[in-house]
């Protein structure tokens, strides 16, 4: 899509009904400040990325995996992707490998021959990044040195839905797996909500930090309109009672500029596993 005065169209994945509330609210915020904005909801990130590459969107609210799909898809087509903004909460996340406290598993070394519960196949935080973390540290291939049990919930939504991680945590406590992977904040959440008993688990390994979602544009995006969009995002203030409920729903206090140095772990994961090969092969 090229520079024009037309409506700025963004893609987002409908991983939860609240997505409509959030973007309806933001649309109103933009409209009141002179930005003609609309959004299209997709059932899965793959279709959103393909749609973006096909020119149906000006920008996309992408998961980290969708960001890499967009970068690599664009490269294949001789184009370029850029991350223009992200939430404060998209920065410096970590994932953890958790076992039962009495499991006798003290480190990744002890995981050899054991089973690891992970989230959905396409979850960066609960599957791809933790498996890469283990592979890089131990040189182990999943389902060889240790077995992997996936808890697929809403594949296509790249782990945006918490269900897969929670199922893996429940399986851990039921003794169905020896360890499981989850994002750091979910270990705290699952412990405080009781899915994991307080003092009943231990973290045997933690990944380095990585980044999560971003607003992605391609090189033919309408630059002036995108600049206006980013400017308005950055102007959203948490002390504004109109916008704060939307920020709360979307899980941030402040929007920050996009950065791309936090995706190395996930890039390594898809490189090692070849996870994106089939997706990229479909693009032409």
């Amino acid at each position: 899509m090229s520079e024009s005065n037309e409506t700025l169209v963004m893609g987002a994945v409908a991983y939860d009904p609240k997505v409509v509330t959030i973007w309806d609210g933001f649309k109103r915020f933009f409209a009141e400040r002179g930005l003609d904005f609309d959004f299209v909801l997709y059932e899965n990130y793959e279709r959103q990325v393909k749609s973006h590459l096909a020119g149906h969107l000006h920008l996309a609210w992408n998961s980290p995996l969708a960001w890499i799909q967009a970068v690599r898809g664009a490269e294949k087509l001789g184009r370029k992707a850029e991350a223009v903004a992200m939430r404060d909460t998209d920065r410096d996340l970590t994932s953890v490998i958790v076992t039962r406290k009495d499991s006798g598993i003290e480190s990744l070394d002890d995981l050899k021959g054991k089973s690891l519960g992970v989230g959905a196949a396409d979850s960066p935080q609960a599957t791809l990044i933790p498996l890469e973390h283990i592979a890089a540290a131990q040189g182990w291939t999943p389902n060889e040195a240790f077995s992997v049990r996936r808890f697929d919930r809403l594949v296509g939504k790249h782990g945006d839905h918490i269900g897969g991680e929670r199922d893996a945590a429940k399986a851990l406590m039921a003794g169905e797996v020896d360890a499981c992977a989850m994002i750091d904040g979910n270990h705290l959440l699952f412990t405080t909500e009781g899915t994991l008993p307080a003092d009943g688990t231990k973290v045997i390994s933690q990944t380095t930090t990585y980044d999560h979602c971003n607003f992605t544009i391609l090189d033919d995006a309408p630059k002036a309109t995108i600049a206006k969009f980013v400017e308005l995002l950055m102007s959203m203030r948490y002390d504004d009672p109109e916008v704060r409920p939307l920020l709360d729903l979307e899980g941030l206090k402040v929007w920050t500029p996009g950065r791309t140095e936090g995706y190395g772990l996930l890039e390594a994961a898809v490189d090692r596993s070849g996870y994106l090969d089939a997706f990229l092969a479909e693009l032409s």
Binding site: I183, L188, A198, Q206, Y238, D240, E242, R244, K253
Partner: protein, 391 residues
């Protein structure tokens, strides 16, 4: 204290309540202030990183602990909050919603629709006192009434009592529905009014119970319900304006009913009927007091209301002009009940008593209309236009 703030959580983790101490320590810092966090819980730093991210605080791990930079998010959230601790507002905001009066209410919440949001329309300083009195005077139908009290009355008189009870139940049902509907429309900021309407509905629920129980004491079936009676009550149910409905129901209707219940307390032929009417009358007196109290205040603030109240009586009178009024069944039942037997002398005595009752009702209505500022002539005229169905 801002530069060297430190917090050592010992062995306490954020998964076991440590967030409370962390939040407390951060609250003592200005936005941008730094806190040095230490502790020995195994997952402390993993959880602290995640917690700080979700709360908007900066987090940097270092040897021996972490530095947390306090975000302004919490201050931002409460910057435009409403403080409702300054008494009863004239027009509470729709966004105050269900929040307790006196609370600090975050801005940006959903707007609730409470049609009765104007203090002038509904408030009375007496509401709290009347509610407290109502709460203190709730009675248990099971124990407050001696349901086994012996009595011996003719079958026809028992039938008359059953007919009067049937009539009372129908009327008390209207008296339940009207405040119940308005209770849901009052802005909860006017807490005492909402509570009072709710307990008024509960009073009526109890009255319906005891009148039903009395009617069924010696009969399997209740009495008759007529079109005229229901039509009169429908005009109460259909009145959408709080002031007008309250005027017609509480001041005129329940005010008139007070005399009826006192009459039954005195002349009913059996102790059970006398007891239930005595207890119901106590409750009804409160309902009348509330109606009068908020309407007196409303009329003082808006003298044009008086004309609308008068119109409401006229309109209701016109609507009911061609109905039968207090139906013959109920009238005859009252007469027989007051007589106590079919003896001519007794009937004559009953007749006089019912006549006296109607005079008392008229005088009572007139007196209440005077309290709302109507002239003696207006009060007399308007009272005579009140529905012949009593309620």
């Amino acid at each position: 204290m801002t530069e060297a703030a430190e917090l050592d959580l010992g062995e306490l983790g954020l998964d076991r309540g440590g967030h409370l101490l962390l939040r407390h320590a951060l609250r003592r810092l200005p936005a941008g202030g730094q806190l040095q966090l230490r502790g020995g819980a195994p997952a402390l730093m993993i959880h602290a990183r995640a917690w700080c991210r979700s709360e908007g605080h900066g987090f940097a791990l270092h040897e021996g602990g972490a530095t947390i930079e306090r975000s302004s998010a919490e201050d931002d959230r409460w910057r435009d909050a409403w403080d409702t601790a300054d008494g009863v507002a004239d027009r509470p905001e729709a966004q105050w919603g269900l929040a307790a009066r006196g609370a600090r209410i975050e801005a940006g919440g959903p707007a609730f629709r409470f049609p009765l949001s104007d203090k002038d329309e509904i408030w009375t300083e007496d509401a709290g006192r009347l509610y407290a009195r109502a709460a203190a005077n709730q009675w248990d139908p099971e124990t407050a009434i001696d349901w086994d009290a012996p009595y011996d009355i003719p079958d026809e008189v028992e039938d008359a009592v059953v007919q009067v009870m049937t009539y009372l139940i129908e009327n008390e049902t209207a008296a339940l529905v009207v405040p119940a509907r308005f209770a849901a429309q009052v802005h909860p900021h006017f807490r005492e009014v909402m509570q009072l309407l709710a307990i008024q509905a509960a009073d009526e629920a109890r009255h319906i119970e005891v009148f039903t129980r009395r009617a069924r004491l010696r009969r399997d079936r209740l009495g008759l319900s007529t079109v005229g009676g229901q039509r009169s009550l429908q005009t109460l149910i259909d009145e959408p304006d709080f002031a007008l409905a309250s005027f017609l129901l509480s001041v005129l209707g329940e005010g008139t009913f007070l005399h009826l219940l006192w009459f039954l307390r005195e002349h009913a032929p059996d102790p059970v009927t006398r007891q239930v009417c005595h207890l119901a009358a106590q409750d009804e007196a409160r309902h009348v007091a509330f109606g009068l109290s908020h309407l007196q205040r409303h009329v003082e603030l808006d003298p044009t209301l008086r004309a609308r109240l008068a119109d409401a009586i006229h309109r209701r009178h016109d609507a009911l002009e061609n109905t039968a009024g207090l139906n013959a069944l109920v009238f005859d039942a009252l007469l027989l009940l007051a007589a106590g037997s079919f003896e001519p002398d007794a009937i004559a005595r009953g007749w006089d008593r019912v006549q006296a009752l109607e005079r008392d009702m008229h005088q009572g209505r007139s007196k209440r209309l005077l309290r709302l500022g109507f002239s003696p002539e207006e009060a007399d005229t308007l009272s005579t236009l009140h529905t012949r169905n009593f309620m």
